[in-house]
C-alpha cells in the first residue's frame, strides 16, 4: 500500500489544513481532538471538497493533482466512506441501501459480494427492514457493509464508534477487525478513542489544528 498525501492545503474556519505524508500501513488511525480537521481531510480524500493545493495518489492512481488540473470525481475514486452520521438513506430499505453502490460487474471477487459482506457483518436478518427500525449498532454495520459492497480500494471511517456506548463498542470492534482481516483493504480510521486505536490500527497520526504533530507505530503487522 502506498498512499501519498502530498502538499495538501485547505483553508478552514480557524486554520489551514496542511498535510504532507506518505502512508504505507494497512490501517492508519487519525487521532485528535474534534475540530482538528480530520473529517475535512477525509472529505478531501473522497473528492467531496476541493483543496487549494494537493496531490493525492493511491497505489499509483492519481486521485487529485491540483497542479496538473486533475480532480477525479468522487464516484470514480472507488473509495468507501462511512461518515460520522452514517448517512443511511432513510427512504430506502436496508437492502436497497446496501446495493446502492454495488455493481456486480465491478465486483473484483466474491469477497465483496452481498453474501460475503452480510455474513461478515452478520446483517442478513436486517435486509428487509427500514433503516429507521435499526439500532445504533445495526446501523453502523449496515453503513459499513454499504461502503464495502462497492468493492472499494480504500475505506474511510469517520469515528464509527463515537455514538455507541461502551458495551456496544466492545461488540462492534471485533466486526471491524474482521473487516480489516477479511477484506485486506487500506483503512483510514478517524477516532479520539485510544482503545480503538490500539485494537485496530497499525500506525496512528496525531492531528492538531490541521497538522500532523506526531506519528506512532502501533502494531508490527504485515501489510
Amino acid at each position: 500500500m502506498n498512499f501519498l498525501l502530498q502538499n495538501i492545503s485547505l483553508p478552514l474556519a480557524d486554520f489551514t489544513l496542511e498535510i504532507d505524508a506518505r502512508l504505507q500501513c494497512q490501517v492508519t488511525g487519525l487521532f485528535g481532538p474534534s475540530g482538528a480537521g480530520k473529517t475535512s481531510l477525509l472529505d478531501l480524500i473522497a473528492g467531496l471538497r476541493q483543496p487549494a493545493s494537493a496531490r493525492i495518489v493511491l497505489n499509483d492512481r492519481v486521485l487529485t493533482d491540483i497542479g496538473a488540473g486533475v480532480v477525479m470525481a468522487p464516484r470514480l475514486r472507488e473509495i468507501g466512506y462511512v461518515p460520522q452520521d452514517l448517512a443511511l438513506f432513510p427512504h430506502l430499505s436496508v437492502r436497497k441501501n446496501l446495493l446502492y453502490g454495488h455493481k456486480k460487474s465491478r465486483e473484483t471477487e466474491p469477497l465483496f459480494g452481498l453474501e460475503h459482506v452480510t455474513e461478515v457483518l452478520q446483517i442478513q436478518p436486517l435486509l428487509g427492514r427500514g433503516v429507521r427500525d435499526l439500532s445504533g449498532g445495526e446501523q453502523q454495520r449496515v453503513a459499513l457493509a454499504r461502503a464495502l459492497l462497492t468493492s472499494p480500494r480504500l475505506l474511510l471511517l469517520d469515528e464509527p464508534l463515537a455514538s455507541l456506548d461502551a458495551s456496544l463498542k466492545a461488540k462492534i470492534i471485533p466486526y471491524l477487525c474482521r473487516v480489516r482481516d477479511e477484506f485486506h483493504l487500506p483503512i483510514l480510521y478517524v477516532t479520539h478513542d485510544e482503545q480503538e486505536v490500539v485494537a485496530l490500527c497499525d500506525e496512528v497520526l496525531q492531528m492538531e489544528r490541521g497538522r500532523i504533530t506526531e506519528r506512532r507505530r502501533i502494531n508490527d503487522r504485515q501489510t
Binding site: 464516484r75 448517512a87 438513506f89
Partner: protein, 221 residues
Amino acid sequence: MTAAEWQIVWFTAWVSALSTLVILPPGLAVAWLLARHEWPGKSLVETVVTLPLVMPPVATGLILLKVFGRHGMGGFLHNRLHLDVVFTWRAVLVALGVMSFPLLVRSARVALEQVNPRFEQIARTLGAGDLRVFFSITIPLALRGIIGGVILAFARALGEFGATIMVAGNIQGRTSTLSLSIYQSWFNGEDTVAYRLLGASVVLAFAAVWTSEWFMRRSRK
C-alpha cells in the same frame, strides 16, 4: 349541467393538469439551480421567476400575447411550424403554466434546500453520477414538498383568469375555462349557468385538495 358546461369543466381540469405536467421538469431544474448553487445572475433569475406571482395577471397575459402573437413569434409559428398559439388551447396552456410556475419553483426549492447534502455526497462516493443522485436521492427526499408545490401549481392553474383572457380569450368550446365562463355567463345574465359552473369549480378544488391530503397521509408512512 349541459354538454357545453361539462366540456368547460373537463377542459379546465385537463389543461390545468397538462400545464402542471409541462412545467414540472423545468420547474424542478430551476428550483434545483436556485437551491444548491451560487452562480452569476442568480438573483436576476430568482426575480424573473417570481414576477408572474407579483405582477397583475393581465399584465403577464399582455406580455405573453405580444410574445406569441402576430407581433412576436406568431408569424414564425404559423408559417413555419403550422402552429397556432394565441387564442387557442395552447395559449391557455402557456398562460396557466407561466402563472403557476413560480409557485412550483418556490415550494420545490424549499423542499430541495431541506435535503441534507450529506446524503448526496455519500451517494456520490457510492458511485452515483449527478443525474442518478438527483433522481434517486434528492427528489425522493424532497418529495413531500415537491408534491405540495405541484398541487399548489395545479390549483393556481384551475383558477387562472387574467393572463388567460388576454392571451387566449374566452372562446366558447376552444379556450373557455371555468373561471372565464363563470364571469362570462354572469356578465351575460345567465345566472343559473354561472351558479352551476361555480358549483363545479368548488367540487374540482375540493377534489384537488382532498387528493393532496390523501397523498400526504400516505407518504407519511
